[in-house]
Amino acid sequence: MMKKELLILLALTGWALAVPHYGSEFAVSMALTCLMYAALSSSWGLFCGSTRYLSLATSAFFGIGAYTGALLLETTPWLAAVGLGALAAAAVAVVMGAAVLHLRGTYFAVLTFGMTELIHHAISYWEKQVMGTVGRVLTVVPDRDTIYLTVLGLAVLAVLTSIIVRRSRFGLALAGIGADEQRAQTLGVNTRLVKVLGFAITAAFAGAVGAAMSVRWTYIDPATVFNPFIGFQTVLIALIGGAATLWGPLIAAVVFSLLAETLRLQAPQLYLMSLGLLLIICVLYLPGGLASLKRETFTQWRADTAGWWRGLRTKQGDA
């Protein structure tokens, strides 16, 4: 099973690697968006999908990563800047997690969103009052292919981490927390530690993606990198794909970036409408997400057809 998953990942990586060589500028840009959301949603699902803690803080970690990267880029090598962006986001997640991870459901979701806004406005204030200027221009920017390869690497790493975590005791603990947190505790799971660790891993990926993607914009300000839409979109993609599944977020990320890049420019209303429609359909008819469509619906359909075929043949045999 694990071998199969790794092979699929390898094949997908091969395809993604080929895009900058053969694809148009538009295709590369679309692939980059796709990889960014694949990394964000996969890592979001790793923690939030299995534990059912709905975090809206992705934008916060993305923004922290972006700012850390921007500050360091002139003095630090590219990959180190991305890594430190991840580290900064993870550190903030540990503090934030310790404060809010004892809350569940709506309270947790609302508080993570509130904290994202708090961080966003705190940085705006600091820039205005202390620095005197809002936003910053990035002067040292790596070339397109470096950015692409980095984001691709992060997406692969996110899926790889999910594959490994799913088979580990850590993954079992996360699933136990999602199913019945108190029961998991009485069976010996240090739930506080596991939750903070899981939250930090998710944040590290968002931070790294933030650091890697911000350079594409050449100018960043708090409103761009702490844009709550990044967080919402991550959650929507994961939920529509199936947050608790391995490939769900990935499948949905592809669907989304296709929708986003083709519809957003020509018909922005249509884009948001199809987003909403997809979410409604998934919540109502596919609570397991797009990934469950593949698993259950089609195997059931195949079994039904096979049964019908067998029935037909025995009837012919009788006659």
């Binding site: 699933a175 136990g176 199913a179 108190q182 029961r183 998991a184 505790q185 009485t186 069976l187 010996g188």
Partner: protein, 248 residues
């Protein structure tokens, strides 16, 4: 108190706002004891269990497990200290298979603890609780009485020294109750477990335990052998009109 108590509650009080659910209850449980806890509805039995397993932090008082002070610690610390429990309403992981439910405890509190061969692995625990045939089924698909057994299996997978059973016989048929009582005796005799067993059906419980604590309105009103307790005037008064009037 004797020095070798496996679990000890000292003046444990649990308050919910103005309501005193457990009122300065002290009790010590020695290794290998089979103890029952009875009391009318709302006597504070389950709340006392929640305090003993760390699920609720007591408002006042202390809890020691195997000589370690655990007051206010997280439930997983209790599990690692050898205190396991079941819940009144079975809380199995519905989506996981029966075998995976048992395996969960082995992966956490039960990991690396020395254990009898009866608790060697998932298969041996499933044999012990009699659910080997259901191993591959999802836990949501087995009957409620099987889920009660699975709850016990999950708790045993933590390889405990002490087992807290919260109304494991509730809703079972008479023959299932007998089988459950036999299993509990076996756990004590063969695994050398200390068992503390809450049951609402008093007569069932008194037949099987050696010592019984009686809680009433959060206070401990009696602690002794079943024969002593049923003659205790305070107990009779607390249970007046209930099934205890015709002692077993």
């Amino acid at each position: 108190m004797n020095g070798h108590a496996l679990l000890e509650a000292r003046e444990v009080t649990v308050r919910f706002g103005g309501l005193v659910a457990v009122d300065a209850v002290s009790a010590a449980f020695a290794p290998g004891e089979l103890v029952g806890i009875i009391g009318p509805n709302g006597a504070g039995k389950t709340t006392f269990f929640n305090a003993l397993s760390g699920v609720i932090a007591p408002t006042a008082g202390e809890i020691f497990a195997d000589g370690q002070r655990l007051t206010g610690r997280q439930p997983h610390r209790y599990a690692h200290q050898g205190v396991a429990r079941t819940f009144q309403t079975p809380r199995v992981f519905a989506d996981l298979s029966v075998a995976d439910n048992v395996n969960f405890g082995l992966q956490f509190a039960g990991r690396g603890r020395t254990a009898s061969w009866l608790l060697k692995d998932t298969a041996s625990i499933l044999n012990l609780i009699g659910l080997a045939a259901q191993a591959a089924l999802p836990a949501a698909a087995i009957t409620p009485s099987q889920q009660r057994l699975l709850e016990i299996g999950m708790a045993l997978a933590t390889r405990p020294k002490l087992l807290l059973l919260d109304e494991v016989a509730a809703g079972l048929t008479e023959s299932e109750v007998q089988a459950m009582a036999q299993l509990i005796r076996r756990l004590r005799d063969e695994l050398d477990l200390t068992v503390i067993w809450i049951e609402h059906a008093v007569t069932t419980l008194l037949r099987h335990v050696e010592r019984v604590l009686v809680l009433h309105q959060g206070r401990k009103i009696a602690d002794g052998t079943p024969a002593e307790v049923v003659r205790n005037p305070e107990v009779i008064e607390a249970y007046l009109g209930d099934e205890m009037v015709e002692p077993a």
